[in-house]
């Protein structure tokens, strides 16, 4: 692939000082600048993370101390926790909303849309996204989606309570569970807005990477961050439409009397329903045809940013760049053909179970290659143990332990016992919970100086890591084994089962660790806000990194690169070279000054 010139180069007059002519509203609220939009996504996502984390705290209060009365909470949730004890319907609404908010409104907003927006144009050397107005629209639709989701807590029957997977008939029939009244309708509506927004944002990323790369920025010179967002965007664009169709069908089943997912003979609340001919399994196929690729949409950006953060702190290039790119491509392709491993005991044909086992486990090849490459990137390096590096090491560790859990769940025979137990909960929290969370934090600590022109406190950042990693690891590692002992997920309590009595101690440990973990996040919030207002000014390139965003000021001006777009001469990993007083060369350093590796 040759170093192609960009197809659409904006002329200078469109940018630069024009930003100053806009009012505050156009500059910071309805801005079309990808950097502002990225920050808007990040701040929205962080607020949603507070909601999601509070819900996690409620879940752990219930599971750690099932009979305890929390009188102060009865004032906050008079309906959900009368007398201080949570009701089962409130518990299920909390579980459903915790999952939904963390997956779609925290990780997707902060890491995927937020950093995707912020980093992709800067790193490819563009002045903005390909479609700035569409970009602004995508944020405001996403904002609307978040508002609708939060509002659903306050409607009759409460928020949706059928799990983030929303399996019908539970999610389709209002009488099946209180959350399936208005709450589930708003949940579906919010998801529709989310998908619309995510589609706009994905199109923008694909178009930007294809058409707005700076001169010299060939595909093989793209940083792995850009590769990961590019592939995640393509996966998202391909995988979301079936869920969109599914969501419309579910809405019709709920409100228009159709029977897409409802078979004949359903009796709910002693009432025979008139539906006939539908299949509950159809929803599961549509949901997981998105749902499985979606986990890669979330996780690939975390892996991509980690690959770009590591070299800045090992002072050497990433290991096996091209292998890593091909691994990302392979994962993207394979992610589309393995969704059935979520359905091994669903009643689908056992033959498909065999296919999905074998197909799923082929993903071990690219994922192992990628993981090994990340680890080997430390090999022979001179490590600088700064905050982003600590979180990047956390990503490596959690990717290893989380990925290995996949060997159990992708295997139909092992999954028969482990399906829908806490093993699954532990596994996906390590991956789309942990890899993404630590990747998000690594990214925030790393790019905060660029975004806001301020340096975050290193001491607080490190305290945040040290109080977060071990609790996080212990919580979700132990959950795997609670699952092996047989505890099913989405249980309000385990006190009714003799054989689960030995999980009491583990649940108590998990709950204490969860409280510690959640408390530690306030260090981060404090650091974030304090640094925003009182942080030391940041230089243009505080980490001595090579990608293009570090060649412009912190924060970058409107239009990103001043008068001239950088001319890219080399790949993104030119570390360990000899230059004037530096061991690295930015991607735009002329080849006459530092020899080009790739």
């Amino acid at each position: 692939m040759s170093a192609t010139a960009p197809v659409m180069v904006r002329t200078e007059s469109e940018h630069g000082d024009h930003a100053l002519e806009f009012g505050v509203l156009r500059r910071y609220v309805f801005s079309t600048d990808h950097k502002i939009i990225g920050i808007q996504y990040i701040l929205t996502g962080l607020v949603m993370a507070l909601v999601g984390a509070s819900l996690a705290a409620l879940i752990r209060l219930q599971l750690g101390w099932p009979e305890r009365q929390w009188t102060f909470l009865s004032q906050l949730f008079p309906k959900g926790m009368p007398g201080g004890v949570m009701t089962p319907e409130f518990y299920l609404a909390v579980v459903t909303m915790h999952g939904t908010i963390m997956v779609f409104f925290f990780i997707s907003y902060v890491l995927v849309s937020g950093f995707g927006n912020y980093l992709v144009p800067l790193q490819v050397g563009a002045r903005d996204m390909a479609f700035p107005f569409l970009n602004m629209l995508s944020y405001w639709v996403a904002f609307l989606a978040a508002v609708v989701m939060v509002v659903s807590f306050f409607v009759e029957g409460g928020a949706a309570a059928s799990g983030w997977t929303a399996y019908p008939p539970l999610s389709a029939v209002a009488a099946a569970i209180p959350g399936s009244q208005m709450g589930q309708t708003l949940w579906l509506l919010s998801m529709a807005f989310f998908i619309a927004s995510f589609t706009m944002s994905g199109l923008n990323i694909v178009a930007t990477v294809f058409s707005l790369r700076a001169p010299g920025m060939s595909l093989w010179r793209l940083p792995l961050t850009v590769w990961s967002y590019f592939i995640a965007a393509i996966i998202g664009l391909l995988a979301f439409p079936p869920l969109t169709a599914g969501a419309v069908m579910l809405l019709l089943d709920r409100h228009a009397g159709t029977s897409f997912f409802l078979p004949a003979g359903l009796v709910i609340g002693n009432q025979l329903l008139p539906n006939q001919g539908g299949s509950p399994l159809l929803w599961q196929h549509l949901f997981w045809f998105l749902g499985h690729p979606e986990v890669y949409v979330l996780i690939l950006p975390a892996l991509g940013v980690t690959c770009d953060i590591l070299p800045a702190f090992t002072r050497k290039p990433v290991f096996g760049y091209r292998w890593s790119v091909w691994a990302l491509v392979a994962v993207g392709v394979l992610s589309m053909i393995v969704w059935g491993h979520h359905m091994f005991v669903s009643g689908m044909s056992p033959f498909t179970g065999e296919y999905f086992s074998i197909a799923t486990l082929t993903i071990t090849v690219p994922m192992t290659i990628f993981g090994v490459n990340m680890m080997a990137s430390l090999w022979g390096g001179a490590l600088r143990m700064r905050t982003p590096m600590l979180f990047a090491c956390g990503v490596l560790a959690l990717f290893g332990s989380g990925g290995l859990g996949g060997l159990f769940l992708g295997n139909a025979t092992a999954d028969m016992q482990l399906h829908d137990t806490y093993f699954v909960v532990g596994h996906f929290h390590m991956m789309i919970g942990g890899v993404t969370l630590f990747g998000t934090f690594a990214a925030i600590y790393f790019w905060f100086p660029k975004m806001f022109g301020k340096v975050m406190s290193e001491g607080l950042g490190k305290a945040h890591f040290w109080l977060s990693f071990a609790p996080f690891f212990i919580i979700f590692f132990v959950q795997h084994f609670v699952g092996i002992e047989g505890a099913p997920r989405r249980y309000y309590s385990f006190t009714n089962y003799d054989f689960l009595q030995n999980t009491r101690g583990e649940n108590l440990l998990i709950s204490w660790m969860a409280m510690l973990l959640i408390t530690a996040q306030f260090i981060f919030l404090f650091n974030f806000v304090k640094s925003l207002f009182a942080g030391r000014p940041a230089t243009a390139n505080p980490w001595e990194a090579t990608t293009l965003e570090w060649t412009t000021s912190s924060p970058p001006p409107h239009g990103n690169f001043g008068a001239a777009i950088p001319n890219v001469t080399r790949w993104a990993y030119e570390y360990g070279v000899t230059d004037v007083n530096a061991d690295f060369a930015a991607q735009s350093v002329p080849s006459s000054r530092v020899p080009v590796t790739a």
Binding site: L170, L266, I268, F319, P366, L383, N411
Partner: protein, 284 residues
Amino acid sequence: MPMPHDAEHRPSSTLESGLLALLFAGLAIGGVWYGAGISLPELASRHGAGIDAMLNYLLLTVGAIFLVGYCVLAWLIWQGARRSIIVSRLATRRTELLLSTALGLGMALIAEGGVLAIGMPVWAEYFGSPPSNDVVTIDVTAQQFMWNVRYPGPDGVLGRTNPTLIDDSSNPVGVDRSDPASKDDLFFQNEFTVPVNRPVKVRLHARDVIHSFFLPHFRVKQDAVPGMTPEVVFVPTRTGSYELLCAELCGLAHYRMRATFSVVTQQEYDAWLDREQQSQGSQP
């Protein structure tokens, strides 16, 4: 744009990297030690031995990779933070190729090898065993939030059902009483009794939403889906009283949709059947 080295970018003290290395190695060693002390619910079925073999194979191989991986990561961090100058910049293409293919394929061998050598035979046996003559058939209709259990009685035939006849208080399964085959059917709620060492066939229905028939000690889990009638066949190998759970979120009381699954000797089973036939047969 080259910049002079900032003093704060000098290698930090090795204390922190040492602690990080210790943390990773410690979590891995502690994790394996803790995990080794955890066991699956005590096994009580024949095919379950195969599932346990699959799980134990994975626990061993994955546990070893996890331990080695975390220790290597710890070592790389510990070593790397002691350097102020890198000692290796770019790996040769050969090294990249070797490491990628060796570890990628090695992991695939462990994962796919396990599926093909251990997993698939168990899976095939579980789903593909030929029907046996002495099978005990049980018809189960799951509903919010109970298990309706029905045995065919002496004629060996289950009576017809019809959802229009369902009534929560008198006929939760919707049995057609006009069907002669239904006369001797035996009904229970949340209670199963089966003889040891004979195949048990459970036919699963769901009346309202999806439920899942989970017998942890028997390594049996099968969703009960409205509109479908999946079947599971397994052979209990130990007598005793076990717990049945619902493993698919089905509503408010999902967490207490519990049933008792009793495995008894053939004599006890016969005596129980006689007793139940007399007591249920005497009812109108």
